[in-house]
Structure formats: C-alpha cells, structure tokens
Symmetry: C2
Subunit: 358 residues, 2 copies
Amino acid sequence: MAEPTREPTNGPLTFEELQLATRNRGMPLEALSYDLTPTGLHYLLIHWDIPVVDASAWRLRLGGLVKHPMELTLDQVRARPFQTIRVTMECAGNGRARMTPRALSQPWLFEAVSTAEWTGTPLGPLLAEAGLAPEALEVVFTGADCGIQGEVEQDYQRSLAIADATRPEVLLAYEMNGRPLEPQHGFPLRLLVPGWYGMTSVKWLTQIEAVGEPFSGYQQTPAYHYEVEPGQLDDPVTRIRVHALMVPPGIPDFFTRHRQLDAGRVTLRGRAWSGQGAVERVEVGVDGSWADAELDAPGGEFAWRGWSYEWDAQPGEHELTCRATDAADNTQPTDQPWNRQGVGNNLVQRVAVSVRPV
Amino acid sequence: MAEPTREPTNGPLTFEELQLATRNRGMPLEALSYDLTPTGLHYLLIHWDIPVVDASAWRLRLGGLVKHPMELTLDQVRARPFQTIRVTMECAGNGRARMTPRALSQPWLFEAVSTAEWTGTPLGPLLAEAGLAPEALEVVFTGADCGIQGEVEQDYQRSLAIADATRPEVLLAYEMNGRPLEPQHGFPLRLLVPGWYGMTSVKWLTQIEAVGEPFSGYQQTPAYHYEVEPGQLDDPVTRIRVHALMVPPGIPDFFTRHRQLDAGRVTLRGRAWSGQGAVERVEVGVDGSWADAELDAPGGEFAWRGWSYEWDAQPGEHELTCRATDAADNTQPTDQPWNRQGVGNNLVQRVAVSVRPV
C-alpha cells in the first residue's frame, strides 16, 4: 500500500516501484479463463519478506478481552469443524498505476485479482468458545511478517469489528485449492475474510486479540483509507468494489502487449465480482457503445461470475471495455475514482485491439 | 527477451516494461532459503498468453527427418520410462534491468531463478525409437503459445543440436514438484533442458521435428544472442552462467526494500549455480573485502548449492556481495557483462544494509 506521506506523482516509474513489481505477482489476464485460479498464478502482494514458519513450533494465541485465552497447535486448528469456500480476492491497490497522478507503491495495472478455494475453521465459534468480554470492540490479527513502513517498524496487524470477525464466512484457513498453504499464501494459517480487499486476510497468523478500543496500528490507520486531501482520511478500505475484467482477445505483441485478431465472430469472455452485493449485470462497450453481456451462473456468494459477449469484429482499430453492476446498484466508473493511496480503483478496463481482414 | 531492433536505453522505465513486470513473476529473494522453490513462487517468463490446452485432445507429434514419425497422447508419454531431476532454472534475461543502458524487455533485477523437481521421460530414447535420419542436424521444438515479436507472428520455437537434445538429462516433463504441471509451466508437457537458460525448455510442447539445416526461427536468431555491436550476433545464449545470490539479511522497508539489522553475529545464506560446471567456491564481500563462504553439500548436478557465511555485523552502513566460481573456472564479474539484448547478466549482487547498535 502507499505510504500516506509520499506524494503521488505523474513522473516516470521509479526504481522502487520496479523492485516491488518484480517481487509481487499479478495474475496474467488470460487466466481469467479459469473458474479457479491455478495456485501458482494467484496474485501475491507481500509487504515485507515471506516468513519461514516451522509448523511444529508454531502456535496461534487467542487472548485479550476473552474469558478463556487459548493457545492452539496447527493440529488443534485442523481438528475443528471446517468449511471450504470459493473466494475472489483482490488487492486494495489493484489499478493503482492506472491512476493519474499515481501513488508510489506496488504499481498494479489490472492483474491483482484471483479466485481460490480456501479450507479452514470458522473464526466465530472459536471466539465464542474463548468467550468475548462485553467490552470487546474489535479483534486484532497479527502476522509473523514484519518490517518497516512509513518509518514504523511493525508486525503486520489489522483489525475487524466483532460483527465482521464473527460472520460465518470468516475462516482461519490452512488449505488453498485442496493443499496446505504454500509459504507465500500464509503457511501454516491465515485469516480469510471473503468479500474484503486482500489486506484484511492477514497471512502467517500468530495472534488474535480482542480489544476494547479501535485498533490504530499503521496498516489500519493511516494506511488503507480513501484519502483525497492530504491527511484527511475518509472511509477505511473494506469491501471490494464492483469490478469486471475481460480476457484480452486475439494474440499479443510481446513487448507492447497490443492485441491483434482476425475479423469475424469472437466471443469476449471475462469475470465480474463485488464484495458489496451479487453481480447482476455486465455490459461490454465496443468503441463507446454499450450492450449487455450474458452472465454465467453465479460462482458462489464470494466468487467471481463469468460473462461472455458475442462480438462481430470488423477490420480496423477498436476499443473494448466492460463494466459490472452489483445488487447494491454499484457500477464501475468511467472516470478514475482517484485517491492519494491508490486504492479501490475499479475504473473500467480498456483494451485496444487491431482487427485484421480475413 | 529483448527485440534486437529496439535500442537500449538509459531512460526511465517505460509503460511497456511495467506491463511485462506485472504479468511475469520473479522469485522473491528470501525464497532462496528453500532447497526446492514452492511451485507458486517459481519464476515465470511467458512471451505471449498462457495457452489453455485440453489434455485429452492434445497430441505430441514427432516428425521431420525420422524413420518412424509418431503421434503420442499424454498417457502414452506418461507410460514411458521416467526420471525426476532437481533443476535450477534461470531466465536468460535475469538482471537485465541492472544493465546500463538496459534492453527494453522484461525488466528483471535479480529474481528470475528457481529450483524445482521435474518428472518426465528422457527425450533421447524417444528420438532413438523414431530413428533419426543420418542427415538430421537439429531438433526443433514447438510450443502451443503464439503471438507477435519483432513484427513476426510466430509459434514459440527453439532448436537444439542432436548432441544436446539427446543428453540423458533432457526430459519431456509432465510433473513439477510431484504434481501435474500447472498451466503456466507448460501443461500438459514441456521440454526440460537442465543447465541451460529457461528459454530452451519449451513449454506447452506440441511438436518435435528433426531438421537438416540450422533452425533460424525468430527465438533462435536474432533472439537470444550475445550482441554488443548492433546486428553483430555473437555467441548464442545457451548454458547458464555461474551465479550466486544471497537472502538479503535483516528486515526490509516496504517501499525502498532497504534492509536493517541488529549488530552482532548473523549468518548470511544464499545459493549458487552454474550450467557450465559444478559450483566450487563462493566468496562473500563485506565492504569490498572478500572471504570464502562455507558450501553446503551439492544439491545435484543441475541444482543450486547452498552456502553460508558468518558475519559479525558492526553498526553502520555496509555493502554485502557474493560471487561464485565453477569447475570450469568461470567467476562472476564485478563489472557488468553488457549486451544489447540484456541476457546472461551474472554481475555480482550488491545488498546495502544498515546495521543498528543493540
């Protein structure tokens, strides 16, 4: 995420952004063709270093304002009731480098979104067993990853209000796509908060603490807030904004990624998702003219939904775009939803294509 | 890889390089701590789009200058004798963005290297069964991936001389780390040429053809050549140059990735590899003063070798570096081995650290 003290820029990409781009990992957009993203293609945003955790020595501590503090081994977590949920996760910073001016941080364009099946034990019953004290207001989650950000040395920490933390879909997850988490996804255990931007789903979880005051650690405040005027923190970043992306059609040029395809009927395909309500509509724009796409069956309450659109491609240069609308009547903007931290950018995707006569 | 016609630059990073960096995937250097890179952390360089291949319809065609052309199903490939080899693979373009001026292409810094266990059937016996004609000179491998590069529309194709193609370690691989290949690694079958830069190990393999003339497709020539003077193609890029990298010690700053650590004894660790001979020596430099690192046992003929070095870190600013030497007496350079395509850069890594008093 962007550091609030660093000024957004219209300048060229910096070396620091390149360092972040070569270590973090987007999902190439052609992988939108998979219902379930192959594990090795799932996007990754890692603030500091990936911790190496020894699962046999690892413990999850649950404490703070609870009647019965606990310390759990991984086997104890795995012995609890479990469920598997298909979840589309998106980085809060997705689209950051498409903002003008752009925040200086991981320079995502479109590709920080993926879908996986996560298996874990629901957090709510565990908190109930621990016995939340009446004055408990939030739950703070701590990861084993640590580093420096905004000149603050810190462990990664984020909080959720009790009502959000105890929703039935909130899991302590130890499997992804049917296998133990790989290190980069939070081995041995991570929080999973379906419908929320990815920074909420704390990886390498070591501690859960009930607290009586709003948590104000760095990753909660000032980070991950919509902020237009410097220092004026508007809403915190929470649920994923409605968003559709398409598989760029045709074939790419290696360097420019510009697409070429042959004239004729082509099925445009993509996915759409929202953390604020079911996707109810996807429109495809061809050279500024919009029409409804066909929606696939829903992929689950927290998973993206496929869509397709039959296009009769005529020779020449064209611009394709798409936008989704959710059940809460949120629609993607065609002008950038700008903010200083470069978060929550669901500006419509535009894909330039050259159609060749056949 | 860089397109030979595009001029190297000292200018800022371009949008095209950013597009490549967000879709290709480096291995974060802290993952040098794993003997075997977790599948989802293995580096990825994909020229065009990842093809979606239907394994049941897929066939491998083996033809050209052979007595018995073949067409094999995946089950037929999997029914053949197999072996599993641990292989360190590196992208030919690793380190490209550290060259001055730099070629315009995927802007790797250090991180395009990983190690996996690959399982497959040796190619040599299959070619022997097919019966290479006496006039066969090279074997051309074709992948299912296609696109445009250097204004040439093409399927991905690379060749090997018969002697290289029939070495016992050259596999047609269908498993990585004990599981079927994920799509991005070449599902359902890829070539694997241990010891050579990654572009040789053609993914999504569909065709193997014995030919009587040197293959001159785009990815063979002009691409992947050491080229200092424009248009003067020197040696082709083949075996991996000797290379060592270290796990950056301490903790990073999120944005700058600058490292801080506490004063005292710290074990520096890393890996070293070469496709041109076993790694026989690794040296660690501290502020320009070199000393031998301790080598772990060899990791296998084609896998990286771990090393460590005990450093008594004194408070202040320091620069750490490392360099390997192989059995053929190749050593990493401390001045850049510059070329126009930005390939084969094994310039020593330099890691700046701030050591804090304790």
